[in-house]
């Protein structure tokens, strides 16, 4: 119900209904991160979400990149973390760092 495979179920339904869809996946974590490696967030071309890649801290930024990936088809690697405040707009309040891979479902 809440895990990665249920995200894929929704992604599959969006895809079947002809929507543009992207998938974001937590691929590495450092320190205390809210969601483990492998956690996924599905995004459709209206910005609707299923699943999560954090406790809600970075989803907004990830959706933005997901919409860009749907538009240009290119995969993206995003880094988030409080120690990189200068480099990134969005951080994790918990002090951890995560790397998120965003790709279009083609």
């Amino acid at each position: 119900m809440s895990d990665a495979l249920d995200v894929l179920d929704q992604v599959g339904r969006w895809k079947t209904s002809g929507k543009g869809v992207a998938l974001a996946t937590v691929i590495t974590t450092w320190g205390s991160s809210p969601r483990p490696v492998g956690s996924q967030l599905g995004v459709d071309d209206t910005g609707a979400m299923v699943g999560s890649v954090s406790g809600g801290c970075i989803e907004g930024a990830v959706v933005k990149e997901a919409l860009a990936a749907i538009a240009d088809g290119k995969p993206r690697l995003l880094d988030f973390g409080v120690t990189d405040e200068q480099a990134w707009d969005v951080g994790l309040a918990c002090g951890g760092k995560v790397q998120v891979f965003v790709e279009k479902v083609s």
Binding site: K15, I27, E103
Partner: protein, 242 residues
Amino acid sequence: MKAETVTALQAARLKRHAVVLATRLSDAAETLVYPERAEGVFAGDAALLAAARRAMAIGRSETVELDGQRIFLNVYVPPARLIIVGAVHIAQSLAPMASLMDFDVTVIDPRRAFATDSRFPGVKVMQDWADEAFEKIGLDASTAVVTLTHDPKLDDPALESALKSDVFYVGALGSRKTHGKRRERLTEAGITDEQFARIHGPVGLNIGAKSPAEIAVSILGQIVEVRARRLEALAGPKVVAA
């Protein structure tokens, strides 16, 4: 991810097959790695297949570097199963809570008044004796068994079968006194002390649970703990990616 890959991952789940999806991060090229075969761009890459199967064995997704390429290994294992023996009041809380936690839940009770679909919406219900039902389902290392009937003629055969299998968790409802009597009966039935010690009884974490829903929380808390410790032991210390 390709749409066909989404379909393949869903199909693997339906069949309760484990699969690892290896994705090259530079271009999102994909390989599906099953225990016996692989499909995709790295299907012939021995190092990649070995890394993927190791990740599958310990149930942990990770990013690896092979020949200077970063590859993400996402492990999709079939959901753990929870078999509840006794379609009783506690089971009515335990079944939906466990479903929320991604357990594949089956409720077993030979008593027709208890084991009805209307009492357990969305959950598999079997009107069978537990040992017969277990033979149909097949107990394995990703299965947890909890007995809740309080009735030795329903609980005992279930516990005997569960203790002879490699299920990762066995719990039995009942007070210390009830559990003591259970020990005598099961010992007589040929269960060793070592096997009996695998039973979590009285079942659940000691959180002062009283209501059926609270008892369900204490049981699920214990199952989560047992499973996490077991996976930690299998995986060893966490390797932090550079």
